[in-house]
């Protein structure tokens, strides 16, 4: 019929950008890691890291303080960004973010309960216990949002954000109540969780978080194509052979695991999950097969940069990195809202 109007196939540029884009992000991440390792109270020149010509003190600082912190920033940043991307796909809404819709706060509430009621936690058992608690908190709020969305059949941005505000408020009230109950030491830990910081980075936390985040992230990225199809709608996905219920369950569990693990070691670090996938979508398109791995890399880069800034700009003191990301992420989110809602009244 009109097949004549079809001319030479236009090269599918986004797909062609896939490998170079990912490579570029890997390179930037490597460079950022080196810089982050060299900056700090004890300066460690870049050249010495590369040539392995460090003094004993420098080596000790590097291996027991900076390296775990850098790795933790990378893993937590990647976990938050991939979870954000997956959650936005799951809710079919580009404004979903673990922090905004109350998932992070619920996880923090669960962690707060552990801190105040179970006392100080240390070692692998304590860290995994905290991760499990955060996971359960995250899962519970995901589930609540889903149920509430299902009651009205509405996955609209407004409805979901309002639900999120309510869940956020409830969880924050819970955290507030626990703060009221807690003693001095507990209070300090609680403040740390709610503001978000990578200051407590230890090798053990790196091991625990990585062991949870990497498998969950791989599962999410492996479901990227199906997540694309889910964006057409749940019925549409089913018509196209995707078991939407199973996919949703899988994504919810993986995001709750990742976010829970990240929060259990770093506290609430907001907006990474929202900002990063957005930046990737703007430049590389919404295809989850590229979006998720690219988000993981960019999330790692951004959190690493933010953490390095947080521990240097007010040196020798340290700023909670969660405060910094919110300071940058808040205005970005407002800009996004204005951009998305302007001229589209019915959204």
């Amino acid at each position: 019929m009109t097949a004549a109007s079809k001319t030479i196939a236009i090269p599918f540029t986004r797909r062609r950008m896939k490998l170079p884009a990912l490579l570029l992000l890997v390179l930037i991440l490597a460079a950022a890691s080196l810089v982050a390792m060299s900056i700090g109270a004890v300066p460690i020149p870049l050249g010495k890291i590369i040539s392995v010509g460090l003094s004993e003190q420098q080596a000790a600082v590097l291996s027991s303080i900076r390296l775990p912190r850098v790795l933790l920033a990378i893993v937590v940043g990647a976990a938050l960004a991939v979870s954000g991307a997956a959650m936005q796909g799951l809710f079919r809404n580009p404004l979903a973010d673990p922090g905004l819709i109350g998932i992070a706060t619920s996880a923090a509430l669960a962690v707060a309960i552990v801190i105040v009621l179970a006392g100080p936690v240390t070692g692998y058992v304590g860290l995994y216990g905290m991760s499990v608690a955060a996971f359960i908190g995250a899962l519970a709020s995901c589930f609540a949002i889903f149920r509430l969305a299902k009651v009205t059949g509405s996955f609209s941005g407004t409805y979901m954000l309002l639900t999120g505000i309510a869940i956020n408020a409830l969880s924050a009230a819970g955290v507030g109540f626990l703060t009221f109950l807690s003693d001095d030491q507990q209070l300090r830990s609680l403040t740390f969780w709610t503001m978000g910081s990578l200051g407590g980075a230890l090798w053990i936390s790196v091991v625990v978080v990585t062991s949870i985040v990497v498998p969950a992230g791989i599962i999410m990225i492996r479901n990227a194509r199906e997540l694309n199809v889910l964006l057409l709608g749940e019925n549409e996905a089913r018509y196209l052979g995707v078991d939407a219920e199973r996919l949703k369950r899988r994504i919810v569990i993986c995001t709750a695991l990742s976010v829970g693990a990240a929060i259990s070691v770093s506290g609430i670090i907001g907006f990474v999950g929202l900002v990063v996938p957005h930046l990737i979508r703007l430049t590389l398109g919404p295809d989850h097969r590229l979006l998720m791995p690219a988000s993981a890399l960019l999330g790692a880069i951004l959190l690493l940069a933010a953490d390095t800034a947080a521990r240097t700009i007010v040196a020798p003191a340290e700023m909670p990195v969660g405060v910094l990301t919110s300071l940058i992420g808040g205005p970005f989110f407002l800009w996004l809202l204005v951009r998305q809602y302007s001229g589209r009244p019915g959204l």
């Binding site: 019929m1 009109t2 097949a3 109007s5 079809k6 196939a9 236009i10 599918f12 986004r14 079919r92 809404n93 580009p94 194509r225 199906e226 694309n228 199809v229 964006l231 057409l232 709608g233 019925n235 549409e236 089913r238 018509y239 196209l240 052979g241 995707v242 078991d243 979508r281 398109g285 919404p286 295809d287």
Partner: protein, 254 residues
Amino acid sequence: MIEAENIVYSIGGERILANIYATFQPGKITAILGPNGAGKSTLLKCLTGALTPDNGSVFLDGKNLWDYSLDALSRMRAVLSQSAPVNFPFTAHEIVTMGRNPYSFDKTDAWNSEIADDALALVDAWHLRDRSFPTLSGGEQQRVQFARVIAQIWERDEAYLFLDEPTSALDLKHQHHLLDLVQRLCREKRLTVVIVMHDLNLAYHCTDNCYFIKEGWIRGGGASRELINKDVISEIFDLAPEYAAMRFGGELSE
């Protein structure tokens, strides 16, 4: 062939569909017609398995719909729903390529991408290929979604095609273009086409058979050319006979 046997569906005690018996023949286009809220889309969703009826069964080629796997169904049946908003800036070509999801393992990406291109050209949307889907107009989105649906059953003969108001946002030219295309595909590939529509003139001219439903009951079924006339219309749509004649008199057989 699709056979619906005694389909009953209700929401919160309110009966939407009552004892529906219907058959849909391969190589024929069957329209489901009726006033707003009659249960047309609900019936379509029961036939596709998106809704589970309270009672009754749907058979595809004599086999119960529920005995098919999602994967098997996705290779033999495509559904165009009434509205499928997409909030993410996928290109039209990416949307159509998603129609090839059932074949993402047994066909190459290049092959699936080429079929998406052919499908876009077929619905006169080739020029929209690299446009962002959410920025397209309603009619353009509808054509792209239709391209996705035909890409899904591209190589398959005797497939099933369900269309829920496929022309609701289209201009006159594209309404005819799309229905011509449906007719052609239906004949060439012996598709079983079930189509929910409102435009009775189009239904009269472009469909083979039709069912009229009203308040959840089937009020009549048969060849479209015989069944769609102003008496039936005035009864089904509660329209005074002179209005029915005014709207449809010139087009329909007496």
